[in-house]
Amino acid sequence: MNRLLPILTVLLAIVAIWYGAAVWMNAPWVRDQAARAETVLTTGDLVRQTLTLDRPVLPAPHQVAAGLWDGIAGQKITSKRSLVWHGWITLSATLAGFAIGTAAGILLAVGIVHNRAMDQSVMPWAVASQTVPILAIAPMVIVVFASAGVTGLLPKAIIAAWLSFFPVLVGMVKGLRTPDGMQLDLMRSWSASRAQVFWRLRLPSSLPYLFASLKVAIAAALVGTIVGELPAGATAGLGARLLSGSYYGQTVQIWSALFAAAILAAALVALIGAAERLTLRRMGLAR
């Protein structure tokens, strides 16, 4: 209860501010309409109407909640209006991209730690890859893949992997290098091979770093996937839902998709957090 109270207070404050903002931002439109119809609005009317508009500038929290509920529970999950369906499209590409990105990040890190040439050449390129705006890259990836006849999950997964490999790479390079000189000397005194040092010492030592990176990577993979769904032509996924909402001024739809994405991201990060706690506690590495 002691911890819940501050959280609830903050939540309540946000909702209150949101309602205030909704009234304030939607009021010009409502007043305009009233002026045209030559009716006089009471304050009560004004507030009621600003919070129930079909296409508000800023939808009220209960409208977003209703939109979210309708999208998740109110539709058949095979329907194109179902957020579950769109969410699954996004999630599957996110997971595929996350898997590719994680594998690439780990492999590059292993290369960097074990090979001097890679140590000196890979990192600058990896950093450069992240400085390119993903919004500029995404449409090109989609177009290039589409011209080769590949559409759907894979191009989006590539964009997700593009964003998610980097935190894994940085974390794993650090993690694989955590064993100190003494630990490595011990291994040497037993004439251990590099593979033995890797599997028995470096990899287990790196796990705390890996999990920290995975949390960043999965969120980045989701962002990458949604960005990959924005270019014209995409009809499925939370990104497409965002885009079509903005075409038709369906702000409730936009906000619902936004919240669906946020909930998805939170769930994914929580899932990795749970795996992290479980693994590290079993390994005696929990802090």
Binding site: D185, S191, Q196, P204, M283
Partner: protein, 257 residues
């Protein structure tokens, strides 16, 4: 039988501030079954010498033989076990798992590993602790486990680099006693680096006094103490005289400072 033989061994590190002579013309013969302590101030090369024996450093001049082989060959033949100042146990392995780690790396079979692990746990008085994790053990017990790990593959030589340096005096006394007991039981050749004069005098059959800049041996003192040494031996005149000799040797080395 000679276990370790060094002839005019020199080791120079090239650093940004110019060469550092960690060892200069070090010659020493260690017989099988000897307990040899290396004592001296920081920078005298005692750890470097131990690491050179273990082929963790390579001398820049001179010859070094371990069990009649080069240090590299000796390492591949599992001629020595090395104990560092920190136990360096893996937190994700049990004590038994930690002890069998070198055995896994060296390719011992499963049954052999279990049997060896049990035997060395007995030897360091940790029977029954094999299933515990390192964090469940005290610092002294962890260091004993690391000694057991170094003994598991039956090397004839045990190299110890300030193994009890991080422990408090009471624990240290008990471990010194236990180490002597272990040495008597196994007949290993032990090379032992320490900062402590009483520790060196209590444990060793030979005490090698070293001094820095360049790292060299200034005195080798053969201990007249019997091999059976209760802790009380430290109050005898022989012990005190020996400690005095070591202290003089250390002072000699500092004569130029």
């Amino acid at each position: 039988m000679t276990a370790i033989q060094a002839r005019d061994v020199s080791l120079t590190f090239q650093t940004a501030d110019g060469p550092v002579h960690a060892l200069k013309d070090v010659s020493l013969t260690i017989d099988q079954g000897d307990f040899v302590s290396f004592i001296g101030p920081s920078g005298c090369g005692k750890t470097t010498f131990l690491r050179a024996i273990a082929a963790l450093e390579t001398p820049t001049a001179g010859t070094l033989e371990v069990a009649g082989m080069t240090p590299d060959q000796a390492r591949r033949r599992r001629a020595y076990g090395y104990v560092f100042q920190a136990p360096g146990l893996y937190p994700w392995r049990t004590i038994a798992g930690n002890i069998s780690l070198p055995l896994e790396i060296m390719g011992f079979g499963r049954a052999d590993r279990a049997q060896r692990t049990r035997r060395v746990l007995d030897l360091v008085d940790l029977a029954g602790f094999g299933g515990k994790y390192p964090w469940q053990l005290s610092g002294g017990m962890q260091q004993r486990a690391s000694i057991a790990r170094a003994l598991a593959f039956d090397a004839d030589i045990l190299l110890m680099d300030e193994p009890f340096g991080a422990l408090d005096e009471i624990v240290r006394d008990r471990l010194n006693e236990a180490l002597l007991d272990l040495w008597k039981k196994t007949g290993k050749t032990i090379g032992f680096v320490t900062h402590s004069i009483p520790e060196a005098v209590y444990l060793s059959t030979r005490i090698v006094v070293m001094s820095p800049r360049p790292g060299r041996i200034t005195r080798v003192i053969d201990s007249p103490l019997p091999r059976d040494r209760p802790l009380e031996i430290r109050d005898t005149p022989e012990f005190i005289a020996l400690a005095h000799q070591v202290r003089e040797g250390l002072r000699e080395g500092h004569g130029y400072d």
